[in-house]
Amino acid sequence: MPEPTSDRTRVHRHPERGDHDLTIVHRILDEALTCTVAWVDPQGGPRALPTIQARIDDTLYLHGSRAARAWKAVAAGAEVCVVATLIDALVLARTSPHHSMNYRSAVVYGRARTVADPSELVSAARAITRHVLPGREEDAAEPRDKDWLETLILAMPIAEASAKVRTGPPVDDEADLALDVWAGTLPLQTVVGEPTPAPDLRAGIAVPEYLKGYRRP
Protein backbone atom coordinates (compact mmCIF):
# COMPACT_ATOMS: atom_id res chain seq x y z
CA MET A 1 0.00 0.00 0.00
CA PRO A 2 1.40 3.46 -0.86
CA GLU A 3 2.75 5.61 1.96
CA PRO A 4 1.06 8.88 2.94
CA THR A 5 2.30 11.84 0.93
CA SER A 6 2.55 14.02 4.04
CA ASP A 7 2.04 13.79 7.78
CA ARG A 8 -1.35 15.45 7.58
CA THR A 9 -2.67 12.86 5.14
CA ARG A 10 -1.58 10.03 7.45
CA VAL A 11 -4.62 8.31 8.95
CA HIS A 12 -3.80 8.28 12.65
CA ARG A 13 -7.02 6.90 14.09
CA HIS A 14 -7.83 3.40 12.75
CA PRO A 15 -4.79 3.43 10.43
CA GLU A 16 -6.05 0.14 8.96
CA ARG A 17 -8.85 2.15 7.36
CA GLY A 18 -6.40 4.55 5.71
CA ASP A 19 -5.48 4.30 2.07
CA HIS A 20 -3.11 6.55 0.18
CA ASP A 21 -3.69 4.85 -3.14
CA LEU A 22 -4.74 7.78 -5.33
CA THR A 23 -6.96 5.54 -7.49
CA ILE A 24 -9.19 5.02 -4.42
CA VAL A 25 -9.17 8.77 -3.73
CA HIS A 26 -10.17 9.34 -7.38
CA ARG A 27 -13.04 6.88 -7.18
CA ILE A 28 -14.47 8.55 -4.07
CA LEU A 29 -14.16 12.04 -5.59
CA ASP A 30 -15.93 10.77 -8.72
CA GLU A 31 -18.78 9.00 -6.93
CA ALA A 32 -19.55 11.70 -4.35
CA LEU A 33 -21.90 14.27 -5.85
CA THR A 34 -20.71 17.07 -3.57
CA CYS A 35 -17.78 17.96 -1.36
CA THR A 36 -16.94 20.54 1.30
CA VAL A 37 -14.14 23.05 0.74
CA ALA A 38 -12.50 24.52 3.85
CA TRP A 39 -10.03 27.36 4.13
CA VAL A 40 -8.81 29.81 6.76
CA ASP A 41 -10.14 33.36 6.56
CA PRO A 42 -7.92 36.43 7.06
CA GLN A 43 -8.99 36.56 10.72
CA GLY A 44 -7.60 33.06 11.21
CA GLY A 45 -10.96 31.30 11.53
CA PRO A 46 -12.03 28.18 9.64
CA ARG A 47 -14.57 28.54 6.83
CA ALA A 48 -16.44 25.75 5.05
CA LEU A 49 -18.56 25.67 1.92
CA PRO A 50 -20.39 22.78 0.24
CA THR A 51 -19.89 22.63 -3.53
CA ILE A 52 -19.64 20.33 -6.56
CA GLN A 53 -16.32 18.98 -7.70
CA ALA A 54 -15.07 17.29 -10.86
CA ARG A 55 -11.89 15.44 -11.63
CA ILE A 56 -9.80 15.18 -14.77
CA ASP A 57 -6.91 12.78 -14.11
CA ASP A 58 -4.92 14.23 -11.19
CA THR A 59 -6.66 17.60 -11.17
CA LEU A 60 -9.66 18.53 -9.06
CA TYR A 61 -11.85 21.29 -10.48
CA LEU A 62 -14.07 23.52 -8.38
CA HIS A 63 -16.22 26.38 -9.55
CA GLY A 64 -18.08 29.28 -8.09
CA SER A 65 -19.26 32.80 -8.59
CA ARG A 66 -16.58 35.43 -9.13
CA ALA A 67 -18.63 37.66 -6.82
CA ALA A 68 -18.42 35.23 -3.89
CA ARG A 69 -15.95 36.22 -1.19
CA ALA A 70 -15.28 32.57 -0.45
CA TRP A 71 -13.93 31.85 -3.88
CA LYS A 72 -11.92 35.07 -3.93
CA ALA A 73 -9.92 33.81 -0.94
CA VAL A 74 -9.37 30.40 -2.53
CA ALA A 75 -8.49 31.96 -5.89
CA ALA A 76 -5.97 34.20 -4.14
CA GLY A 77 -4.05 31.06 -3.21
CA ALA A 78 -5.31 30.23 0.27
CA GLU A 79 -4.43 26.74 1.45
CA VAL A 80 -7.57 24.60 1.10
CA CYS A 81 -8.75 21.24 2.32
CA VAL A 82 -11.45 19.37 0.39
CA VAL A 83 -13.40 16.43 1.78
CA ALA A 84 -15.89 14.13 0.05
CA THR A 85 -17.87 11.48 1.92
CA LEU A 86 -19.94 8.47 0.90
CA ILE A 87 -22.03 6.62 3.48
CA ASP A 88 -22.49 3.00 2.43
CA ALA A 89 -24.22 1.57 5.49
CA LEU A 90 -25.17 2.15 9.09
CA VAL A 91 -23.32 -0.25 11.38
CA LEU A 92 -25.43 -1.16 14.40
CA ALA A 93 -23.51 -2.96 17.14
CA ARG A 94 -24.98 -4.49 20.28
CA THR A 95 -23.43 -1.71 22.33
CA SER A 96 -23.75 1.98 21.57
CA PRO A 97 -19.98 2.76 21.71
CA HIS A 98 -19.32 0.23 18.94
CA HIS A 99 -21.83 1.73 16.52
CA SER A 100 -20.24 2.95 13.34
CA MET A 101 -20.76 3.57 9.65
CA ASN A 102 -19.42 1.91 6.59
CA TYR A 103 -18.09 4.91 4.72
CA ARG A 104 -15.56 6.07 2.19
CA SER A 105 -14.09 9.51 2.54
CA ALA A 106 -11.33 11.34 0.70
CA VAL A 107 -9.37 14.41 1.80
CA VAL A 108 -7.27 16.53 -0.54
CA TYR A 109 -4.92 19.31 0.63
CA GLY A 110 -3.39 21.97 -1.56
CA ARG A 111 -3.71 25.34 -3.21
CA ALA A 112 -5.87 26.08 -6.20
CA ARG A 113 -4.98 28.03 -9.31
CA THR A 114 -7.49 30.06 -11.30
CA VAL A 115 -8.08 28.52 -14.71
CA ALA A 116 -7.71 31.08 -17.50
CA ASP A 117 -6.94 29.02 -20.57
CA PRO A 118 -10.11 28.94 -22.74
CA SER A 119 -9.78 25.28 -23.70
CA GLU A 120 -9.18 24.23 -20.07
CA LEU A 121 -12.23 26.28 -19.04
CA VAL A 122 -14.37 24.36 -21.52
CA SER A 123 -12.93 20.97 -20.47
CA ALA A 124 -13.56 21.83 -16.82
CA ALA A 125 -17.16 22.94 -17.51
CA ARG A 126 -17.74 19.71 -19.41
CA ALA A 127 -16.14 17.69 -16.60
CA ILE A 128 -18.34 19.32 -13.96
CA THR A 129 -21.45 18.64 -16.07
CA ARG A 130 -20.29 15.08 -16.68
CA HIS A 131 -19.58 14.62 -12.95
CA VAL A 132 -23.24 15.27 -12.20
CA LEU A 133 -24.52 13.19 -15.09
CA PRO A 134 -22.37 11.43 -17.71
CA GLY A 135 -23.72 12.17 -21.17
CA ARG A 136 -25.18 15.52 -20.25
CA GLU A 137 -22.03 17.34 -21.40
CA GLU A 138 -22.80 16.24 -24.99
CA ASP A 139 -26.30 17.66 -24.81
CA ALA A 140 -26.28 20.90 -22.85
CA ALA A 141 -25.12 24.15 -24.42
CA GLU A 142 -21.51 25.06 -23.53
CA PRO A 143 -20.82 28.27 -21.60
CA ARG A 144 -20.61 31.49 -23.56
CA ASP A 145 -17.72 33.90 -23.17
CA LYS A 146 -19.83 36.19 -21.00
CA ASP A 147 -20.56 33.32 -18.59
CA TRP A 148 -16.87 33.26 -17.65
CA LEU A 149 -17.18 36.83 -16.43
CA GLU A 150 -19.42 35.50 -13.68
CA THR A 151 -17.94 32.08 -13.01
CA LEU A 152 -14.56 31.17 -11.67
CA ILE A 153 -12.99 27.77 -12.29
CA LEU A 154 -10.30 26.64 -9.89
CA ALA A 155 -7.95 23.71 -10.31
CA MET A 156 -5.98 21.95 -7.61
CA PRO A 157 -3.63 18.98 -7.86
CA ILE A 158 -4.78 15.72 -6.31
CA ALA A 159 -1.36 14.93 -4.90
CA GLU A 160 -1.52 15.38 -1.13
CA ALA A 161 -4.55 13.22 -0.51
CA SER A 162 -5.79 10.20 1.38
CA ALA A 163 -8.85 8.02 1.71
CA LYS A 164 -10.42 6.36 4.72
CA VAL A 165 -12.67 3.37 4.23
CA ARG A 166 -14.63 1.17 6.65
CA THR A 167 -16.40 -1.97 5.51
CA GLY A 168 -17.93 -5.03 7.12
CA PRO A 169 -20.16 -5.98 10.04
CA PRO A 170 -20.09 -4.41 13.51
CA VAL A 171 -17.27 -5.35 15.86
CA ASP A 172 -18.48 -5.96 19.40
CA ASP A 173 -16.49 -7.17 22.34
CA GLU A 174 -16.67 -10.94 22.89
CA ALA A 175 -18.54 -10.47 26.18
CA ASP A 176 -21.32 -8.52 24.44
CA LEU A 177 -22.09 -11.09 21.74
CA ALA A 178 -24.61 -12.82 24.00
CA LEU A 179 -26.72 -9.66 24.38
CA ASP A 180 -30.25 -9.95 23.14
CA VAL A 181 -29.89 -6.98 20.76
CA TRP A 182 -30.06 -7.01 16.98
CA ALA A 183 -26.76 -6.21 15.29
CA GLY A 184 -25.90 -5.80 11.66
CA THR A 185 -25.63 -3.30 8.86
CA LEU A 186 -28.24 -1.29 7.02
CA PRO A 187 -27.02 -0.38 3.52
CA LEU A 188 -27.94 3.08 2.26
CA GLN A 189 -28.15 4.23 -1.31
CA THR A 190 -29.17 7.33 -3.20
CA VAL A 191 -32.02 6.67 -5.62
CA VAL A 192 -33.73 8.86 -8.18
CA GLY A 193 -37.37 9.71 -8.50
CA GLU A 194 -39.25 10.41 -11.71
CA PRO A 195 -37.68 13.14 -13.86
CA THR A 196 -39.95 16.19 -13.71
CA PRO A 197 -39.90 18.35 -16.84
CA ALA A 198 -39.56 22.12 -16.45
CA PRO A 199 -42.91 23.88 -16.92
CA ASP A 200 -41.43 25.85 -19.82
CA LEU A 201 -39.99 22.79 -21.60
CA ARG A 202 -40.71 22.87 -25.33
CA ALA A 203 -43.20 20.24 -26.43
CA GLY A 204 -41.83 17.09 -27.99
CA ILE A 205 -38.53 16.88 -26.09
CA ALA A 206 -38.28 13.42 -24.55
CA VAL A 207 -36.49 12.54 -21.28
CA PRO A 208 -32.93 11.66 -22.41
CA GLU A 209 -31.68 8.11 -22.05
CA TYR A 210 -28.85 9.19 -19.71
CA LEU A 211 -31.43 10.33 -17.17
CA LYS A 212 -33.04 6.92 -16.96
CA GLY A 213 -31.56 4.45 -14.49
CA TYR A 214 -29.35 7.21 -13.09
CA ARG A 215 -26.71 6.05 -10.65
CA ARG A 216 -23.40 7.36 -9.41
CA PRO A 217 -20.27 5.95 -11.14
Binding site: H12, A38, V40, G44, P169, G184
Partner: protein
Protein backbone atom coordinates in the same frame (compact mmCIF):
# COMPACT_ATOMS: atom_id res chain seq x y z
CA UNK B 1 -39.19 33.92 13.80
CA UNK B 2 -35.76 35.23 12.93
CA UNK B 3 -35.21 36.22 9.35
CA UNK B 4 -31.94 38.07 9.87
CA UNK B 5 -28.52 36.45 9.67
CA UNK B 6 -26.94 36.24 13.13
CA UNK B 7 -23.55 37.56 11.93
CA UNK B 8 -21.98 38.88 8.70
CA UNK B 9 -20.28 35.56 7.92
CA UNK B 10 -23.55 33.63 8.17
CA UNK B 11 -25.37 36.07 5.89
CA UNK B 12 -25.96 34.42 2.51
CA UNK B 13 -24.36 36.90 0.11
CA UNK B 14 -24.44 34.89 -3.09
CA UNK B 15 -28.12 34.48 -4.11
CA UNK B 16 -29.31 36.10 -0.83
CA UNK B 17 -32.91 35.09 -1.57
CA UNK B 18 -31.86 31.51 -0.75
CA UNK B 19 -30.76 32.37 2.78
CA UNK B 20 -32.76 30.81 5.61
CA UNK B 21 -32.23 31.95 9.19
CA UNK B 22 -35.31 30.66 11.03
CA UNK B 23 -34.13 28.41 13.81
CA UNK B 24 -36.69 25.61 13.22
CA UNK B 25 -35.81 25.29 9.54
CA UNK B 26 -32.09 25.28 10.22
CA UNK B 27 -32.55 22.66 12.95
CA UNK B 28 -34.62 20.43 10.66
CA UNK B 29 -31.79 20.31 8.11
CA UNK B 30 -29.24 19.52 10.84
CA UNK B 31 -31.46 16.70 12.13
CA UNK B 32 -32.12 15.19 8.71
CA UNK B 33 -28.43 15.09 7.70
CA UNK B 34 -26.76 11.88 8.80
CA UNK B 35 -23.29 13.41 9.05
CA UNK B 36 -21.49 16.72 8.78
CA UNK B 37 -18.16 18.04 7.58
CA UNK B 38 -16.28 19.54 10.51
CA UNK B 39 -13.44 21.96 9.81
CA UNK B 40 -10.94 23.68 12.04
CA UNK B 41 -7.50 25.26 11.76
CA UNK B 42 -4.58 22.89 12.32
CA UNK B 43 -1.53 23.71 14.45
CA UNK B 44 0.24 24.66 11.23
CA UNK B 45 -2.41 27.30 10.49
CA UNK B 46 -3.87 25.32 7.58
CA UNK B 47 -7.45 24.12 7.26
CA UNK B 48 -8.57 20.61 8.17
CA UNK B 49 -11.90 18.86 7.47
CA UNK B 50 -13.29 15.50 8.51
CA UNK B 51 -16.67 13.85 8.11
CA UNK B 52 -18.31 12.99 11.41
CA UNK B 53 -21.68 12.25 12.97
CA UNK B 54 -23.41 14.97 14.90
CA UNK B 55 -26.47 15.24 17.12
CA UNK B 56 -28.50 18.23 18.16
CA UNK B 57 -30.10 18.80 21.56
CA UNK B 58 -31.98 22.08 21.65
CA UNK B 59 -29.66 24.86 20.54
CA UNK B 60 -26.49 22.81 20.95
CA UNK B 61 -24.69 20.66 18.39
CA UNK B 62 -22.51 17.78 19.59
CA UNK B 63 -19.77 15.80 17.89
CA UNK B 64 -17.67 13.02 19.34
CA UNK B 65 -14.63 10.88 18.76
CA UNK B 66 -12.03 8.74 20.41
CA UNK B 67 -9.68 10.28 22.95
CA UNK B 68 -6.93 8.89 20.74
CA UNK B 69 -8.13 10.90 17.75
CA UNK B 70 -5.84 13.72 16.69
CA UNK B 71 -8.92 15.60 15.49
CA UNK B 72 -10.62 15.47 18.88
CA UNK B 73 -7.40 16.41 20.65
CA UNK B 74 -7.17 19.35 18.25
CA UNK B 75 -10.69 20.68 18.65
CA UNK B 76 -11.66 19.99 22.26
CA UNK B 77 -9.95 22.99 23.78
CA UNK B 78 -12.25 25.84 22.84
CA UNK B 79 -11.16 26.39 19.25
CA UNK B 80 -13.13 27.98 16.40
CA UNK B 81 -14.77 25.48 14.06
CA UNK B 82 -16.96 25.58 10.97
CA UNK B 83 -19.45 22.82 10.23
CA UNK B 84 -21.01 22.27 6.80
CA UNK B 85 -24.08 20.10 6.28
CA UNK B 86 -25.42 19.24 2.82
CA UNK B 87 -28.62 17.56 1.65
CA UNK B 88 -29.05 17.16 -2.10
CA UNK B 89 -32.71 16.91 -3.06
CA UNK B 90 -32.34 16.81 -6.81
CA UNK B 91 -30.34 17.70 -9.87
CA UNK B 92 -31.59 20.69 -11.80
CA UNK B 93 -31.05 20.24 -15.54
CA UNK B 94 -31.01 23.45 -17.53
CA UNK B 95 -30.64 23.75 -21.28
CA UNK B 96 -27.22 25.33 -20.88
CA UNK B 97 -24.36 23.93 -18.78
CA UNK B 98 -24.02 27.28 -17.08
CA UNK B 99 -27.51 27.24 -15.57
CA UNK B 100 -27.28 23.66 -14.26
CA UNK B 101 -27.67 23.48 -10.51
CA UNK B 102 -28.89 21.37 -7.64
CA UNK B 103 -31.87 21.53 -5.42
CA UNK B 104 -30.16 21.47 -2.07
CA UNK B 105 -30.40 22.41 1.59
CA UNK B 106 -27.16 23.33 3.33
CA UNK B 107 -26.30 24.64 6.78
CA UNK B 108 -23.07 26.24 7.93
CA UNK B 109 -22.41 26.59 11.67
CA UNK B 110 -19.63 28.70 13.16
CA UNK B 111 -18.66 28.56 16.78
CA UNK B 112 -16.16 27.76 19.43
CA UNK B 113 -15.94 24.28 20.86
CA UNK B 114 -16.37 23.30 24.47
CA UNK B 115 -15.55 19.86 25.82
CA UNK B 116 -18.42 18.08 27.56
CA UNK B 117 -17.35 16.90 31.00
CA UNK B 118 -20.56 16.63 33.02
CA UNK B 119 -21.44 12.94 33.53
CA UNK B 120 -25.20 13.39 33.02
CA UNK B 121 -24.68 15.45 29.89
CA UNK B 122 -22.26 12.82 28.53
CA UNK B 123 -24.84 10.07 28.99
CA UNK B 124 -27.56 12.16 27.34
CA UNK B 125 -25.33 13.03 24.40
CA UNK B 126 -24.30 9.43 23.88
CA UNK B 127 -27.97 8.51 23.54
CA UNK B 128 -28.63 11.50 21.28
CA UNK B 129 -25.85 10.53 18.85
CA UNK B 130 -27.03 6.92 18.78
CA UNK B 131 -30.61 8.04 18.17
CA UNK B 132 -29.53 10.57 15.54
CA UNK B 133 -28.46 7.64 13.36
CA UNK B 134 -31.39 5.34 14.16
CA UNK B 135 -34.11 6.86 16.38
CA UNK B 136 -34.95 4.39 19.16
CA UNK B 137 -31.62 2.60 19.09
CA UNK B 138 -30.32 4.04 22.36
CA UNK B 139 -33.05 2.27 24.33
CA UNK B 140 -32.01 -1.06 22.81
CA UNK B 141 -28.23 -1.16 22.57
CA UNK B 142 -26.12 -1.58 25.70
CA UNK B 143 -25.15 1.84 26.96
CA UNK B 144 -21.49 2.73 27.48
CA UNK B 145 -19.78 1.64 30.68
CA UNK B 146 -17.97 4.36 32.67
CA UNK B 147 -14.73 3.02 31.20
CA UNK B 148 -16.05 3.30 27.66
CA UNK B 149 -17.30 6.81 28.36
CA UNK B 150 -13.83 7.81 29.48
CA UNK B 151 -12.41 6.71 26.10
CA UNK B 152 -14.67 9.05 24.17
CA UNK B 153 -14.41 12.81 23.87
CA UNK B 154 -17.53 14.87 23.28
CA UNK B 155 -17.42 18.42 22.08
CA UNK B 156 -20.27 20.87 21.79
CA UNK B 157 -20.88 24.09 19.96
CA UNK B 158 -23.76 26.52 20.47
CA UNK B 159 -26.04 26.93 17.46
CA UNK B 160 -25.93 30.71 17.78
CA UNK B 161 -24.10 31.52 14.59
CA UNK B 162 -25.58 29.42 11.81
CA UNK B 163 -27.56 29.79 8.63
CA UNK B 164 -29.08 27.67 5.91
CA UNK B 165 -29.22 28.02 2.16
CA UNK B 166 -32.13 26.32 0.41
CA UNK B 167 -32.43 26.03 -3.36
CA UNK B 168 -35.52 24.46 -4.87
CA UNK B 169 -37.59 24.64 -8.02
CA UNK B 170 -36.93 24.55 -11.73
CA UNK B 171 -34.05 26.02 -13.73
CA UNK B 172 -34.37 29.67 -14.64
CA UNK B 173 -32.88 30.35 -18.03
CA UNK B 174 -32.53 33.32 -20.30
CA UNK B 175 -35.24 33.51 -22.94
CA UNK B 176 -32.92 32.81 -25.84
CA UNK B 177 -31.99 29.44 -24.31
CA UNK B 178 -35.59 28.32 -23.88
CA UNK B 179 -35.79 27.52 -27.59
CA UNK B 180 -32.90 25.02 -27.39
CA UNK B 181 -33.75 21.44 -28.25
CA UNK B 182 -32.50 20.15 -24.86
CA UNK B 183 -34.49 18.51 -22.04
CA UNK B 184 -34.76 20.61 -18.87
CA UNK B 185 -36.21 19.71 -15.51
CA UNK B 186 -35.53 18.14 -12.15
CA UNK B 187 -34.25 14.68 -11.27
CA UNK B 188 -35.21 14.13 -7.61
CA UNK B 189 -32.70 12.28 -5.41
CA UNK B 190 -33.18 10.68 -2.03
CA UNK B 191 -31.34 8.33 0.31
CA UNK B 192 -33.09 5.03 0.99
CA UNK B 193 -32.16 1.94 2.98
CA UNK B 194 -31.55 -1.41 1.33
CA UNK B 195 -32.10 -4.78 2.94
CA UNK B 196 -30.60 -4.99 6.45
CA UNK B 197 -27.77 -7.51 6.82
CA UNK B 198 -27.59 -9.51 10.04
CA UNK B 199 -24.23 -9.61 11.80
CA UNK B 200 -22.75 -13.08 11.05
CA UNK B 201 -22.36 -13.51 14.84
CA UNK B 202 -25.98 -12.55 15.59
CA UNK B 203 -27.72 -14.82 18.11
CA UNK B 204 -30.39 -16.90 16.45
CA UNK B 205 -33.96 -15.58 16.63
CA UNK B 206 -32.97 -11.97 17.32
CA UNK B 207 -35.61 -9.97 15.45
CA UNK B 208 -34.81 -6.91 13.39
CA UNK B 209 -36.26 -3.90 15.19
CA UNK B 210 -38.72 -1.64 13.41
CA UNK B 211 -36.33 1.33 13.53
CA UNK B 212 -34.11 -0.75 11.20
CA UNK B 213 -36.76 -2.18 8.90
CA UNK B 214 -38.62 1.15 8.64
CA UNK B 215 -35.53 3.38 8.77
CA UNK B 216 -35.84 6.81 7.30
CA UNK B 217 -34.41 10.22 8.04
CA UNK B 218 -36.52 12.49 10.24
CA UNK B 219 -38.68 14.84 8.21
CA UNK B 220 -38.71 12.58 5.13
Amino acid sequence: MTTEAPTPRTRVRRLPELGVYERERVHAIIDEALYCHLSWVGDDGDPRVIPTIHARIGDTLYVHGSNASTTLRGIKGGVPIAIAITLVDGIRFARSMFEHSMNYRTVVVYGRTEEVTDADELATVFDAITDHVAPGRSADARRPTPGELRQTTFVKVALDECSAKVSEGFPEEPDDDLALDVWAGILPLRVVPGEAQDDPLLRADTPRPSYVTDWRRPGT
